[in-house]
């Protein structure tokens, strides 16, 4: 008709397009939010279980003390076990002797380092590791010896300065994820005098290339000792390594010299500095602080006396000490401290606590300072604590690591605390990004994020979230099955009418209490149990599609459950008893150990079944038990799962 109509048609058209767009955007944002939330839940599950494990780990130290008090045969006859339990003493003069014994054959085609090291050696290692080569034990040991020598000259805290033209880069936990280190070096440049770095601890454990990371970092340090700064993390601890995978990695990669490498490493760890202070403004430590953190004290202590979080200093009874001193050679006490007798071999309890706080604490929104109950060590510190401590030492900021963050970093406490975490996909492919920070005086810190994805994994968000979520739920279910007896008991206590059903609130309460995990149970319930139309939970439904494989039919389910539940702890204990790393312990040792274990952890089990179990499984080889095989036989079967065997390796 006229031009008036066509423009109004146009308007109408664009109005409907607008409405349509709004509908789609609205729907999309709703979906997106739900996906992000599910991803967060999954991360929370992983994290809770990780910290609960750490707590379990720390409980072991009490068990070791208990064991030494009661395992009298050990004390009298097997002093080697005691030494092994308590760590060993290495003499430096071992070095030349030992290295002299190792031969690097001509057939070895891996990287060969040239001492004194130069930047070409860093490149050499990177290229070699990219091709999955393994550095020969001879070079590993040389690097470790040299690193220890150099670290011994460093103070407890490295003080360093930046300038507008010279920023420093701070990286967080790497945990054996070599690809992330490659990415950082490639994106941010290799370390050099003009490109300094701080690596804030936890280089090892969990990932499968802890050794390679350590070698690259130590070599970088040896080449640029004034520009590459290493802080100790809570995983730079030989006891932690036994549980979290590094010890295993070393023994697998270095069958001949692995033990020696582990021995030297124990010592190298203790010489790593406690922290770095940048421009007298920024404190960089691995975990955090507490209300009693005393930086002056920490500057003074003999840091190398902190051997392991599982070896706290113990008060020696004066009389007892002199009595035992009369025995030839070593002194020992029932509570297991370093032998060769002197008190001066330990830190004071106060000094030791100070170090624990630095390595294990986490910041929280709540004001004040509280024991870190989920990890079992260090504390939770609030924004008031941060302000107080920073002001006390005239500092402006605390940069720390220790906690995995979805975006690789997180700022809290009013901008005064930054967490930086550099292992991307830490829990699972797609679980989180990694990050590093660049700082220089006068400018705000700059953040760089990344996420390592394999070529086939550039999947859309919903697929990645599904994968992470499934993995987390699977882990949680395994946790549940390992506490099945206790859970059922707790449920039944609340189920007065014996209906097999509970309200969501009741179910959530029991789950949290028994498992000791603080998780959003109501939101997770749909993935873990079936709910009827009235909203009540059928609590037995969780156990229907999952069970622990019975290695032998006739054995009590509670025994199976117990071994499965404590398998990580048992693995460590066995490893400690197995002082020659043969993988075997005697049947008698096994029995005594089991007796002590069940009495300490108050486990009610018919012991006679254990013998039967071991025999039936035909694991006796000349009266010894291959304990790795023994533990491997206890695994969880997920009924509706393509993979029938769950990951039985120690976390």
């Amino acid at each position: 008709m006229g031009c008036g109509t066509s423009s109004s048609v146009k308007d109408k058209k664009s109005e409907t397009a607008l409405k349509a767009a709004l509908v789609i955007q609205n729907w999309y944002r709703g979906r997106s939010a739900q996906l992000k939330t599910r991803q967060r839940y999954a991360l929370t599950i992983f994290q809770s279980i990780e910290y609960a494990d750490e707590q379990g780990q720390l409980q072991l130290s009490n068990f070791f003390s208990f064991m030494l008090e009661n395992y009298t045969r050990v004390l009298e006859e097997d002093s080697e076990l005691v030494t092994h339990l308590l760590g060993s003493n290495i003499q430096d003069k071992d070095r030349r002797d030992y290295l002299g014994l190792i031969d690097v054959p001509d057939s070895y085609c891996g990287p060969r380092l040239q001492f004194p090291l130069t930047f070409t050696d860093i490149d050499l290692l990177i290229e070699a590791f990219k091709q999955q080569q393994i550095l020969h034990a001879y070079y590993v040991l040389e690097v470790l010896f040299e690193t220890k020598k150099l670290l011994q000259r460093m103070p407890n805290f490295t003080h360093t300065k930046t300038s507008p033209s010279k920023e420093i880069t701070i990286c967080g936990d790497l945990h054996g994820k070599l690809d992330d280190l490659f990415l950082i070096y490639s994106k941010n440049g290799l370390p050099s005098v003009s490109n300094p770095y701080v690596f804030n601890g936890d280089f090892v454990d969990r990932g499968k290339n802890s050794m390679e990371i350590l070698m690259i970092l130590f070599v970088s340090f040896l080449v640029y000792p004034n520009d590459l700064h290493l802080n100790r993390g809570n995983h730079e601890d030989f006891m932690m390594n036994k549980r979290y995978g590094f010890t295993k990695e070393v023994l697998n990669k270095y069958k001949l010299h692995g033990k020696k490498i582990l021995q030297i490493l124990e010592d190298v760890y203790t010489w790593l500095p406690i922290g770095t202070i940048i421009d007298n403004e920024i404190l960089v430590v691995h975990g955090g602080i507490s209300e009693s953190t005393d930086l002056n004290l920490l500057h003074r202590i003999e840091r190398n006396k902190f051997k392991s979080v599982l070896m706290p200093p113990v008060p020696i009874d004066g009389d007892r000490a002199t009595e035992k001193e009369n025995k030839v050679g070593t002194t020992s006490t029932a509570r297991g401290i370093r032998t060769n007798g002197s008190l001066s071999e330990q830190l004071t309890k106060h000094e030791w606590d100070q170090v624990i706080d630095i390595l294990w604490s986490d910041p929280r929104g709540k004001r004040g300072c509280y024991p870190n109950t989920s990890r079992g060590g260090g504390c939770y510190f609030g924004p008031d604590i941060t302000s107080r401590i920073l002001n006390k030492y005239r500092l402006k900021m605390l940069i720390r690591s220790h906690e995995c963050k979805p975006e690789g970093y997180e700022i809290c406490h009013d901008g005064k605390v930054i967490t930086v975490f550099s292992a991307s996909n830490y829990y699972e492919e797609g679980s989180n990004r990694g990050a590093y920070i660049r700082v220089s005086s006068g400018t705000p810190p700059r953040f760089f994020q990344y996420q390592m994805t394999s070529a086939t994994c550039l999947r859309p968000l919903y697929q990645r979230v599904n994968a992470v979520e499934s993995s987390a739920i699977r882990m949680l279910k395994e946790r549940m099955i390992s506490r099945k007896t206790d859970l059922i008991r707790a449920f039944q206590l609340q189920d007065c009418s014996k209906s097999g059903k509970l309200s969501v609130g009741q179910w959530a309460f029991s789950m949290e209490n028994v498992l000791g995990l603080s998780l959003p149970w109501r939101s997770l319930s749909s993935r873990l149990v079936t709910t009827d139309k009235d909203g009540n939970i059928d609590y037995m439904s969780s156990f229907q599609d999952i069970h622990i494989q019975k290695p032998v039919k006739e054995v009590q389910p509670t025994l199976i459950e117990t071994v499965y539940r404590y398998r990580s702890d048992l693995q460590i204990i066995f490893n400690v008893i197995d002082s020659d790393h043969s993988g075997l312990i005697s049947m008698e040792e096994f029995r005594s150990m089991w007796k002590l274990f069940t009495s300490y952890y108050s486990v009610c089990i018919d012991d006679s079944q254990l013998d039967e179990l071991a025999e039936r499984m035909d694991l006796n080889k000349d009266g010894s038990i291959d304990f790795n095989e023994f533990l491997k036989a206890f695994y969880v079967v997920h009924k509706f799962d393509k993979l029938n065997k769950s990951d039985t390796t120690v976390a």
Binding site: A17, L22, V23, I24, N26, Y28, R29, Q34, P460, L461
Partner: protein
């Protein structure tokens, strides 16, 4: 003890509870729960009563599947059954409450059929709905 959430996450929380406010409605809601002097944080005690009311009144109900389909069809008047990548980008980033670049990329990664470089919206919707359940 008061628990604190950063306001930038409030949208995610509200949406994950099953509500679908528009960006405009979301801003109004945040204004209701924010502190007098915006600190960037929200207190749980303030959030809870407001959110409870929203849920009880069943405000901001999510879009039913058929309406969503119709919205796509509106943008595809020739009834091809698909939208080209460029068309989708144009509508999503220029009309309504525009997507950020990140949101656009995220949507494309799931919606785009790489061979034809277009979005077969009916299949896309079906796929998303199945996944939700």
């Amino acid at each position: 003890m008061s628990q604190i959430i950063q306001w930038i996450e409030i949208g995610t929380i509200i949406r994950s509870l099953g509500c679908c406010p528009s960006e405009g409605e979301l801003h109004d809601l945040i204004a209701e729960v924010e502190e007098e002097e915006p600190t960037g944080y929200i207190r749980f005690e303030k959030f809870l009563p407001v959110m409870t009311e929203v849920l009880l009144e069943r405000r901001y109900r999510p879009i039913p599947e058929d309406i969503l389909l119709r919205a796509f069809e509106v943008l595809d008047p020739a009834k091809h059954g698909f939208l080209s990548k460029e068309e989708l980008i144009k509508y999503m980033t220029e009309e309504g409450e525009p997507f950020s670049q990140e949101e656009m990329e995220e949507m494309l990664s799931a919606a785009i059929d790489p061979e034809s470089n277009s979005v077969h919206y009916k299949d896309y919707i079906t796929m998303m709905v199945i996944d939700e359940n």
